[in-house]
Structures are given as C-alpha cells and as structure tokens.
C-alpha cells in the first residue's frame, strides 16, 4: 500500500465528513427558513405602503409605519384586542380554579372509576367543537349571552378545562408520596393539603398550563365567529378574518399583515421566553394547544 493511497483515503474520508456536515447544516437552514419565512414575510409586508405592496421583495426596503398606525388608530381593532385579552385571561383563570382541586382528586386519591373519568376528560378535549355548536347556541341565546364576552368565556371552557385538568393531573401524579405523608400524619384536611402543600409546588406547572390554555383561547375562531355579531364582543381572530376590501383587488393586505404581526408578536415573545416550559407542557399533556 503506497503512502499516496493512504493520503487519498484520509482526504476522501475528510471530504465525506465535510459533505455530511454541510448537508446537515443545509437541512437545518432549510428548516429554519421554512418555519420562519411566512412570519418574516408578514413583517416585511406590514412595513410596505402604497403600490410597493404589490412588488415582491425578499429583503426589507422600507420602514413605513402607516399600516400599524392604521390598525392602532382603529377603535374597533383596539376593542377586539381588549376583548381577546379579557376572554383568554378569564377563561384561563376559571379553568385553573376548577382544575386545581379536580386534579388533586384525580392524581392523589384512589377511587373507583378514576381511570374512566380521566379518559372521559381526555375524550372531551378531543371533541369536535362543531358537535356542541348547536346546543351551545341554544344555551347562549336562552341566557341572553349572545354577542357578549361571557358567551366566549363560557364556551371556551370546553377545551380549556379538560386540557388544564389533564396536564395538572399528569404533573401532580409525578410528585412523590412523601410530600403529602407528613401533612396527613399531622391530620391536615385535603383542602389544607392542596393549599399549603401542593399549590406552592404547582406554580410552575400552572404557569405552563395557563400559558398553553391562553394561547388556545387567544387563537380560537369557530365559537368567536358564531357567538358574536359586532365589534363589541368580537375577538382578534374574527376581526382579522373579516378584514376585506370592496373587491378582491382592494383587500388591504398591508393592514391585515400589520394586525397579524401585532396579534402574533406577543405570542411569539411569550413562546420564546417560556420555550422549555411550553415544550414540557405540550409533551406532558400531549394535547395540541
């Protein structure tokens, strides 16, 4: 075996490694570009104005805030934004309130039918929302809640509550028995155990669950579309879906993109801050937010 042969073999090995590494990074780059591009392009479009909107560009050329001013000066949109915040916040708080005690019972107490109950709760979270639409519509009209924020908070409970219960139950189940034992020996009632022992431990899980439920409520469309009829109760997704011009060619794309960015930016920031928590919550719940 000649030395040249050996050298060639070594260099071809290095070359192969280099090719593999390059291919891997190209794949990484491709994934990042595909995932981020639509949002990037929405931001790009939102800063364009006038006829520039209709010229396709791949890099930012102008920084025009007209679209944002347009959105932020619209009283209706600000109202929609406030509605979204109120509805999502109250939905989350209500669900957490009901879920903490229920999850304690489901995770720490052995009783007959617990497995069936848990499965039922999981099944409810997989419910097609359209299946309850007719019944909810009747209920909401009957109680005069139509076109109010309460109609939305009420109906969002159907997906937010089972999800919250499920994730908190998985979290509490994994806590060791020992934490409770001392309290039980001291004669603490289950109520005190929840308040004094579990609640302090539950905060991180509640933040994660609450955040995921908040995103789900923030993004909801079907109920918001069906149970509201004016801007006083409309949430942001409905408003964005309704943005339209007098004709196909007059759709205000710049304004739509500015509104989209405004609505999404808080979520993206939240998600980036709570990245790890969200990932653990998503995989623990196994439920799409």
């Amino acid at each position: 075996m000649s030395t040249i042969d050996q050298v060639q073999r070594v260099s071809s090995f290095d070359l192969w490694k280099l090719v593999k590494k390059t291919a891997f990074y190209l794949l990484v780059l491709f994934i990042v570009v595909v995932m981020v591009f639509p949002f990037y392009y929405a931001i790009l479009t939102s800063f364009k104005s006038g006829t520039n909107l209709f010229i396709v560009t791949y890099w930012p050329h102008e920084l025009n805030f007209a679209n944002y001013l347009n959105v932020l000066q619209s009283a209706a949109f600000l109202q929609n934004f406030a509605n979204s915040i109120i509805v999502a916040t109250l939905t989350v708080l209500l669900s957490l309130l009901l879920a903490v005690t229920a999850s304690y019972a489901l995770s720490r107490v052995n009783f007959r039918g617990r497995g069936v109950l848990l499965m039922t709760i999981l099944a409810v979270s997989m419910f097609p929302q359209i299946a309850v639409l007719a019944g909810l519509f009747e209920l909401i009209r009957f109680y005069n809640l139509f076109n109010t924020l309460w109609a939305l908070i009420f109906s969002y409970t159907i997906f937010s509550l089972p999800f919250t219960v499920w994730v908190l139950t998985t979290f509490m189940r994994d806590l060791p028995v020992e934490i409770e034992e001392a309290a039980i020996v001291d004669g603490a009632t289950p109520w005190i155990i929840i308040w004094r022992v579990f609640l302090p431990l539950l905060w991180p899980a509640m933040v994660t669950t609450g955040l995921l439920a908040f995103i789900a409520a923030w993004n909801e469309y079907l109920f918001a579309l069906t149970f509201t009829s004016s801007n006083s109760a409309r949430t942001v997704p409905v408003a964005i879906a309704l943005f339209s011009g007098n004709s196909e060619h007059e759709i205000p794309w710049g304004t739509i993109m500015a509104a989209s960015v405004l609505v999404t930016a808080p979520l993206v920031v939240l998600v980036l801050i709570f990245q790890r928590k969200i990932i653990s919550g998503l995989t623990a719940g196994g439920v799409k937010g």
Binding site: P38, A102, Q129, L133, G135, R173, L282, G286
Partner: protein, 326 residues
Amino acid sequence: MSDIAIPAKANATRRPDESDLVKQRVRAAMWFLLPMLAALAVVAAWPLLRTIWFSMTDASLTHLADARFVWFNNYLHWTVLKSGKVIWSGVLVDPAWWNAVWNTLRFAVLSVAFETVFGVIVALVLNAEFPGRGIVRAAVLIPWAIPTIVSARMWGWMFNDQFGIINDMLMHLGLISTKIAWTASADTAFYAILIVDIWKTTPFMALLILAALQMIPRDIYEAAAIDGVHPVKTFFRVTLPLIRPALMVAVIFRLLDAMRIFDLVYVLTPNSAQTKTMSVISRENLIDFDKFAYGSAESTLLFLIIAVMTILYIWIGQVRFEGGTR
C-alpha cells in the same frame, strides 16, 4: 402457608383506622371533582345532547323552542310519489356531505402522513447536538404559536395569484410559466390547505417525537456505532421501534385534530367545494344557510366518527397511561 397468613392478620389490625382516612379522602375528592364535572356537564354533555336532539327535529334558527320531532328524517328520508317513484333525501344521500367526508378524510390522512415524516426529520435534527440548536428549536415553535387565522391570512397573501411571493419564487425557479391562483383554483385549493396545515402542525409533531427520542439512552447508539451498524439501519432497527408508541399516540392525536379542521379552510379557501370539510359544511348549514336541524345532523355524524376514533385512541393510549400511574 403461614407466611401468607401473618401479613393478612397484620393488615386486619391496621385496617379500620386506614380505611377511615381513605374514606375521608375519597369523600373530599368527590367534592373537589364536583365543580369541574358540573362545568363539563354544562358546556359539553348538555350541548352535545341538545345537538343530537336538534338533529332529529325540524328546528331552524328562529324556531328552536317549538321544533317538532321528526325522527331520522334529517339523516335519511324517502317519499313515494304517486307514480311509484321513490325520492330519497337527508344527509346520508347528500352528495355535498359525502364530498365533505371525502375531503376531510383525504386531508386528515395526507396531512398527518406528511407531518409525521417531516416531524421525525425535524425531531432527529433537534436531537443532534450542534451549535445553534436553541435557535432552531425556537424557530420551530413559531408556526405553532401563530394563530390559525393569522397563518391563513399570511399564506393567503403569499399564495396571492397576482402579487404572491410563492408564484414569484416558482416563476424565478422556472417551475411554472403562468401564475397559479392557488386558493381560488379548483385544482390547487386542496393542496394550498394541505401545505399550510403541514407547515403549522409539523412543529407539534416534532416536539412530541423529540420528547420520545430524548428518552432513548445514548449508549444504544454508541453500541450500534461500535458494531459498525449504518446510521440509517440504526434508525429503522433501533430508533423507530423505540419511539413507535409515542409516535402512534401523536399520530392519532393529530388525526383526531385534523378530522375537525374548520378555521383554516373557512378563511383560506371559502366556498371551495374541493376543500369543504365536515366541520365547515356543518357550520354553514347550521348558521349561514339556516338549516339548523340539517347542520345538527351533520355535526352529530362528525361526532360519531370522531367518537369511534377516540375510543380507538384510548384503547391504545391506556397502555401508556397505566405504565405511568402510581
């Protein structure tokens, strides 16, 4: 024999005290569960029963209270004409409904299949150690965080026939010679929906698969590498079987979710028969066309289909659940 009797006796002496405590705990648990169960009964069980009831009436938006019971006429009904000709009506003989069923099934199977493949690829990338992994993981979360309606509008703009960037890219690459009306054309509307949904939900899939991948001990790969097993072979023989349970759960979750898709279709391709899904057609009949009872029948059918699939999921998911229970 005796070593069995002794613990039993010991148990018997400890029992009354313990069972009192257990009883107290169980009683407290029932009270703790009550508010949650009551809430679910009001927002889920009752409306569902009412929907099923409405599906067997002649209710309309303005006549909810005084609806008449008509049995299964909304599902299937026939009239015999004087000439002896039988005319069938109802959801089960409605071509629009079956078109929606077909659209939904085709969409669910195709989107979940692609998402699973792409999800595995993204998860494998995220599972590798390389500089900048955190950035990639953050980037992957973005489509998941964007509201569906917003992504529908963003993609609607990118898919725009005149000024859309997708057509611009494809023209520059020479892949198409004339601009395509992605969301409006009957040939492409379905694929437009598919593309956006795959983009939006691959992250969820990837994260679930990543969680499963991270459970696999690294030394398995080291052992395979020392034995000189090709990485591709390692993937199919070692990795895939190990993540299969988690993969199955993720696939069924996504299938159930895809079966009920509404917002993306409703906003991105309104009024397109090629994309109309079961949820969309039900909601149109319920509210937009004022065929409340007919729409209720359609949503009841969708519920039944998903219920069967959910039972399937629980059947598979229970294995995992009982593994983790204490």
